[in-house]
Subunit: 269 residues, 3 copies
């Protein structure tokens, strides 16, 4: 199944519009190119409106959120919704500041999000309206355990969005079915913006597979984790997190749909 999903990305070359933070933006663009998609960034209101219309998917990321680009996020999000484009929301740092929490909550009210991807602290903040996010990292008290947490299921049902909670084990659910994903490497957390890259990737996978957004989101999470594993196996004794960042993107560039199918490790419950 993931093989075909990934093939659809490579075949359709979806154009993905990202309004994202300036920390991870270059890696997000190269990750999109690596998976076979095409990136474009536009964050000024009128520009964002037009650009999103020529794209196939929209990636909204709240890192380095600012007053100038918030209206662009709302406008592009609504326009994408009208056009039936998938919208991915990455609520970076929700729970860490009122601006980020409030913007994320307002986006959920006004924009039809297809997928919300975050760490468990960020997702909990969106679900409960408050949280304990430590900066942009998940609170260590928050972990996905056996069951789909009720707040995740509720958030999925309430918003109609697929919720992708990434951590040691990743959880992707539409509130009914849940993918538990075991790909990945702990070293991915030593690279800035791997979560942001995953959100961009998810936009590409969902845009290329509009009929199965849950499976496409799970495939993107597996692909990212698998690339984290492949990249890790390539590290020399001198390589650190900067080379690792390159190797993850390189791995996506080299990843074949068949290799994704074979390397994906997950359960559906």
């Amino acid at each position: 199944m993931f093989e075909e999903i990934f093939e659809n990305v490579r075949k359709s070359v979806p154009l993905i519009h990202s309004i994202t933070n300036y920390v991870a933006v270059n890696d997000c663009a190269n990750m999109l190119l690596a998976c076979g998609a095409s990136p474009i960034m536009a964050d000024e209101l009128e520009d964002a409106l037009e650009i999103t219309a020529i794209c196939g998917g929209l990636n909204l990321n709240l890192g380095t959120l600012n007053r100038r680009t918030i209206p662009a996020m709302f406008a592009a999000g609504k326009r994408a919704g009208e056009l039936g484009h998938p919208v991915i929301l990455d609520p970076v740092g929700a729970g860490a500041s009122a601006l980020r929490t409030d913007t994320a909550l307002r986006l959920l009210q006004e924009v039809k999000c297809t997928v919300i991807r975050g760490n468990i602290s960020e997702i909990k903040t969106l679900a409960l309206g408050s949280g304990t996010t430590r900066g942009v990292d998940a609170d260590t008290a928050d972990r996905v355990t056996g069951e789909v947490p009720a707040f995740v299921r509720d958030l999925a049902r309430r918003t109609g969005a697929i919720i992708a909670v990434t951590g040691a084990v990743d959880l992707v659910t539409d509130g009914e079915r849940a993918f538990y994903i075991y790909n990945g490497s702990p070293m991915m957390s030593t690279v800035t913006g791997t979560g942001c890259q995953l959100s961009a990737l998810t936009a590409a996978f969902v845009a290329a597979n509009p009929q199965q957004p849950l499976e496409a989101s799970a495939a993107a999470v597996c692909a990212m984790g698998l690339c984290g594993e492949i990249a890790h196996s390539r590290l020399t004794a001198q390589d650190g997190n900067a080379s690792y960042c390159r190797y993850i993107i390189d791995a996506m560039y080299r990843l074949t749909p068949a290799a994704l199918e074979k390397g994906a490790r997950y359960e559906v419950r």
Copy 2:
């Protein structure tokens, strides 16, 4: 000829002011350093005005264009013109949105551009006032074929600028003479911002060779393409677009003027 042009860059260490997008900006800065120039970025109106005055060339790039930095582009462009500094315009995404198209067209009216570098869709948009740019990539229907397209020649004559159209074959012309350049690798399009890097590089080459902007622009295009070739030959089976991006800049760092002279593949018509 290209040997001496490149030597002039290395000898004079031109300080290049870039107002460019936040996607490619880091790679632009390292590309400038790699070729022997020195980068500085300033995009706030009053800062840009002062900074451009201490520089030797100005690189204006419309990617992630926004209301705050547009006035800085106009002011810096005019100041650079008054000071006789070369101005390079990279109309990223012209034809994809009204903001980008209009800003590019207005810049052409108000700022004396020394070089305009873009893909053929972007150049066609500037020449004809409309276009079919697919995001930031060239429309596949647009290609440089045997003759210099009339719209390119006309744009060069009308603006007095050198037009550098990059694609499978690159074309650099002042409306009279034309360099057809065969260096490069198709894989360069899998790295975000190689065009933006080339525009920054062109600013450095032209700033260091004020008497021969056409030849300097052609040399920059050859150098970039040659580095794309050298970098490609270095790829291992695990390397992808992220490592390739590093290798292109590395190749520029290692490129000697003599190697550029020898490796440049072009015709003048």
Copy 3:
């Protein structure tokens, strides 16, 4: 001594808030992760105020300074001061434009800075209120020689800040004691933002060692220089400044406190 200082960084994982330029920001984030700290970027006034409160240190960097983020710098700087967090000021390009010079001078008046790190031209500008900065690089007429320059000592005493002047030889002083640091490689100046990375690193080291900011600053400068040396020894004949940039961050990721202790080359006068 440096061993323990670096161990404190790795043990305490300080969360560092950076308001920094968009050229070097990704490398700053990965450098912070490499040393064992955790990065967060927030530059919108209200967001910056809240984010800085959950952090352990604040890094203010004037590269790509703009009107939107200047108030955020002042507000975050004051808040950090009230909370007793260390504030690192990196006056990129002070002396090159009035906006940068004036903002740096005003920050010194209104924000209690723990460390000021810059090249000697930038530091001289802050000390004397004017300077000869050539863009973001030090004027070659400015060099640290045998004695601590009077203007450095005076700036330290007047502001109560530790002054870190980086160049061929680095000088870190509180106006009384001075560390002369011999680590580093000339090739570090061919990578954009190594100074910015060092400022972020210094914030992490000082935040993790609040009782000995002078020693912590010196340790950070030694660590950065040592990583520059380690990275340099790793270069192949094809590697250039882009790979070198990766290797420096990689080296920090791999650097052990014991290796820092052993590799640090400095004198205290």
